[in-house]
């Protein structure tokens, strides 16, 4: 999976209007429900880097009855950078690196039992897919949830198909080795 650029995601959230760090974190977790939640510290450092690069600036402070918070807003340069990034094509899987793949290769090299591993992994994948499907099919699921569940389901499905094909190849291979 291609790592998401936190910089650009925050710039995108700022494009809807000035906002402070905690609010940005909350909105991020809402929009990307199945992603790893953002740490507040990460939001804070990323915002500072955006300001340093001239992509965002401090709007002012806002207390709103509570502790004082710094408000940020996107600059014109920030808007340009955002639209450049949004239109840029993500490189289609430039490197094949995946833990499942690596484990199967290692198991074959080390004389382990890749078929047993694949079976167990398949069960785990299906379990996760059932969870995601339940989230998606629940009545009143919002669009962001459905989209992120779809994304994850399709990738898990792709993994599963690769695992099925690999299991079938292993069976053929074993049969050939046994016959020899």
């Amino acid at each position: 999976m291609i790592a998401m650029s936190t910089r650009h995601v925050l710039l995108g959230l700022l494009a809807t209007g000035p906002s402070h760090g905690y609010d940005l974190k909350r909105r991020h977790d809402e929009r990307f429900p199945q992603a790893r939640p953002l740490a507040y510290g990460q939001v804070y450092t990323t915002l500072q880097r955006l300001v340093r690069d001239g992509l965002a600036e401090v709007e002012g402070t806002d207390s709103d009855g509570g502790p004082e918070r710094t408000m940020y807003r996107s600059t014109d340069q920030g808007a340009d950078e955002l639209s450049r990034w949004a239109g840029e094509i993500a490189p289609p899987a430039p490197f094949v690196t995946n833990e499942i793949f690596a484990k199967v290769v290692v198991a074959i090299l080390a004389g382990g039992d890749p078929a047993a591993y694949l079976n167990a992994q398949r069960a785990a994948h299906m379990e996760r897919m059932r969870e995601l499907t339940a989230v998606k099919a629940a009545q009143g699921a919002d669009l962001a949830t459905v989209l992120s569940a779809d994304y994850a389901l399709n990738h898990l499905d792709a993994d599963l198909r690769w695992m099925s094909t690999t299991a079938a190849r292993l069976t053929t291979l074993t049969a050939e080795v046994d016959a020899a």
Binding site: H125, R130, A137
Partner: protein, 228 residues
């Protein structure tokens, strides 16, 4: 994991088509209100298993028990009645009569059960609404989109309030969005009414709608995650 009380149990099913064996001692248990997916490569005997469980064909050996009754002891007439009243079937396509409107197709099982036409049509209309087939009640299956026709087929399978629905690749002829709508409709209704579903599919994303999954390999049922 606690399992619900089984509504349908099959043990040691074997069935051959001519000389080609399709099932070689398959055993399976479907819990009350459970949604169970049966997956497997094409030609692994999935459809044959469904046909045996639903009493559509008789297995060469083995036994199917539904609600305390052994299907192999029932005459064809009783089996047919059982399929009509207590089971529902959904295939990939073709279970709607092409000449009947969607409404009449859904009303058909009620009509066969002796309900009068007006009442049957009213009930069928409610079920079509429930499955989101709006304003297409008077269309024939050929005039509907695949997804709409398949939802009408679901309505027909569920209109009699069956205990078990057998679905053989119900989304096989649909694109992913239409398939999703059909599966969501099926799962929601089954959960609401406590209907058990035996779902045959080769698609992991469809199987993920089930509570549990078993695999059919070379005519034998194996639990997922267990080495054959």
């Amino acid at each position: 994991m606690t399992r619900p009380v089984p509504v349908l149990t099959a043990t040691g099913l074997t069935k051959a088509h001519g000389r080609t064996p399709a099932l070689r001692g398959a055993s399976i248990e479907l819990g009350t209100g459970e949604i169970l997916a049966v997956t497997g490569a094409s030609g692994s005997g999935k459809s044959t298993l469904l046909h045996c469980l639903a009493g559509i064909v008789r297995p060469d050996e083995g036994s199917v028990t539904y609600d305390g009754r052994r299907l192999e002891d029932l005459p064809e007439k009783r089996l047919s009645e059982l399929r009509r009243t207590e089971f529902g079937v959904v295939f990939q396509f073709g279970q709607l009569i092409p000449e009947l409107t969607a409404l009449d197709n859904v009303a058909l099982p009620l009509l066969l059960a002796g309900t009068d036409r007006a009442r049957a049509r009213a009930r069928a209309g409610e079920w079509l609404e429930r499955f989101g087939v709006h304003g297409q009640q008077d269309l024939r299956p050929g005039e509907m989109s695949g997804g709409q026709a398949q939802r009408a087929a679901l309505a027909r399978a569920l209109v009699t309030g069956p205990k078990v629905v057998f679905a053989d690749e119900p989304t096989g002829a649909l694109d992913s969005l239409a398939g999703e709508q059909v599966m969501t409709a099926l799962v929601h209704t089954a959960r609401e009414s406590g209907t058990a579903v035996l779902l045959i599919t080769h698609d992991a994303q469809v199987a993920a709608y089930a509570d549990r999954e078993v695999q059919l390999r070379d005519g034998v049922v194996t639990a997922l995650g267990v080495t054959a």
